[in-house]
Amino acid sequence: MKVLVAVKRVVDYNVKIRVNSDQTAVETANVKMSMNPFDEIAVEEGIRLKEAGTASELIAFSIGPKQSQETIRTALAMGADRGILVETDTMVEPLAVAKCLKAVVEKENPDLVIVGKQAIDDDSNQTGQMLAALLGWSQGTFASNLDLSDGSIKVTREVDGGLETVDLKMPAVVTTDLRLNEPRYASLPNIMKAKKKTIDLTNPEELGIDISPRLTVLKVEEPAKRIAGVMVEDVAQLVDKLRNEAKVI
């Protein structure tokens, strides 16, 4: 069984982002970039399926600028077998990402595609569901556990009320939630080995996909700042303030 995972290059989750001075975007020049944390979880899950003998090959996919190769390299160092980069310098919306993924799926024929539930930059939470729709496949979103058996996969999902389990007909698309696993770090020998693994380069035109955006970003602004309040001496003062000043209890 082949498994395809998507890995997105995003601003590292530790970076305190800033809106640029002309209020059109978030400043990404000279900012630390990393693999989207939910995609690390996707890669880890793919590797575990390989280690369990369930998956035979793990392919890491990304769409983005040339530098996204580094993100794919990270996936290869963790344990993916090869990579595919759809190279583009334009911003790609989830629908376009899903369409490119679909084109790759049709070439590679994986039985399972694992993507992150959301990218921590744009916070869209769409790509996996859109891919499943375009392929006419089942979807297991916000997964905290996977259980594969012949031709089907049981996915435990983190939902608002707790946990829910669904049984999906394969092939399927799964999106990862935080508790699915704890991703490994790539070891130095594996980082060296990853340099020899192949990354195939293609682009949206070659795949025949129109990636022109449907949304125009008119403006990007900083949210209203909260101003720090006061420190209270003790619990009695706190309760007094909540009752008589803020009047919230």
């Binding site: 601003v11 982002i17 978030v26 989830p94 629908l95 921590i120 916070d123 869209s124 939470n125 769409q126 996996g128 569901q129 859109m130 891919l131 499943a132 729709a133 979807q139 979103t141 916000f142 049981k154 939902v159 608002d160 009320g161 707790g162 946990l163 829910e164 389990t165 669904v166 049984d167 999906l168 007909k169 939630d177 935080l178 508790r179 955006p213 449907r214 949304l215 125009t216 970003v217 403006k219 990007v220 602004e221 900083e222 949210p223 909260r226 720090a228 309040g229 006061v230 420190m231 209270v232 003790d234 619990v235 009695a236 706190l238 309760v239 303030k241 909540l242 803020a246 919230v248 209890i249």
Partner: protein
């Protein structure tokens, strides 16, 4: 302009998130509601009473019982002609279904809007709410999820919508429901509670959460948690507040033993009043707190409980 709102419910009760979504929808045009479920007449009747709703579409069939996106999305696509916008609350249910609808319609989805600027322009948070993007859609039909904290709930009473049955419901036979483990609680729902008290890694163990529950019961509050507390197994996943958990904006949010990472702040910084209890005076949570108390939580929380009785 006509707007279709996808109701959030559990076949027995309509969830409050629906009311916030209707409020967003009324800013765009005439509102209809889709109640898709199994044996969901009571929900449809409740939905018909919401102020400002013209028509309730009831899709009642076993295939829709558990909200499987594979079955619901194609039906919404069939119903979509005639609507300029389709809105669902940005709950796990809405987030699961709506991108599937958008892709089938070959349009973008606009995720988690916090305000409506005009019929085609919306504001949505990006980067864990550290930036707000104003986006304009060129698509013929707008598929939108609504961050419920951005909109005051529409009145649950005062409307008298007509009811219409939806036929043509199909089971895509791609997926099936196996089971669920829902957290049972008498307390208000986290996302609609007026008061929330959350615990973090500082709580040290799940066994200490009853301290927070005691206060929650005195204040009619819901109990939440940071990711660290959930990852450590202190409390179930549905307690998580934050960028990748639930977004809350209660009148009062009390953070106990939580450091205030940006991913946590993303889920609670729009609360009206924030209280932080933390033993580390340098903790970033104090930068957003209206009232900060530097103290050991194992002293402060029992004292708070006692003080509330006075």
């Amino acid at each position: 302009m006509s707007v279709l709102v996808i109701a959030e419910h559990d076949n027995a009760e309509l969830k409050p998130a629906t009311l916030n979504t209707v409020a967003a929808a009324t800013q765009l045009g005439d509102v209809d509601i889709l109640v898709a479920g199994d044996n969901c007449s009571a929900v449809a009747d409740t939905a018909a009473k919401i102020a400002g709703v013209g028509k309730v579409l009831k899709a009642d069939a076993p295939a829709l019982k558990t909200g499987l996106a594979e079955n619901i999305a194609p039906m919404i696509v069939e119903l979509s002609s005639g609507y300029s916008h389709i809105l669902a609350p940005a709950t796990t249910h809405g987030k699961n279904i709506m991108p599937r609808v958008a892709a089938l319609l070959d349009v973008a989805q606009i995720s988690e809007i916090t305000s409506v600027v005009s019929a085609d322009t919306f504001v949505r948070p990006i980067y864990a709410g550290n930036a707000m993007a104003t986006v304009q859609s060129a698509d013929a039909i707008k598929i939108i999820t609504v961050r419920t904290t951005g909109f005051d709930a529409a009145p649950a009473e005062g409307g008298s919508a007509t009811l219409e049955d939806v036929s043509n419901i199909m089971d895509a036979a791609l997926s099936s429901f196996v089971g669920q483990e829902l957290t049972v609680s008498e307390r208000p729902e986290l996302t609609s509670a007026k008061v929330v008290i959350s615990g973090g890694r500082g709580m040290q163990s799940g066994e200490n959460f009853p301290m927070l529950e005691e206060i929650a019961d005195k204040l009619g509050a819901a109990v939440g948690a940071s990711r660290a507390a959930v990852d450590a197994g202190f409390v179930p996943n549905d307690y998580q507040v934050g960028q990748t958990g639930k977004v809350v904006a209660p009148d009062l949010y009390i953070a106990v033993g939580i450091s205030g990472a940006i991913q946590h702040l993303a889920g609670m910084k729009d609360s009206k009043v924030i209280v932080a209890i933390n033993k580390d005076e340098e903790a970033p949570i104090f930068q957003v707190a209206d009232y900060g108390l530097v103290d050991d939580l194992f002293e402060a929380v029992p004292a708070l409980s006692a003080e509330l009785d006075k």
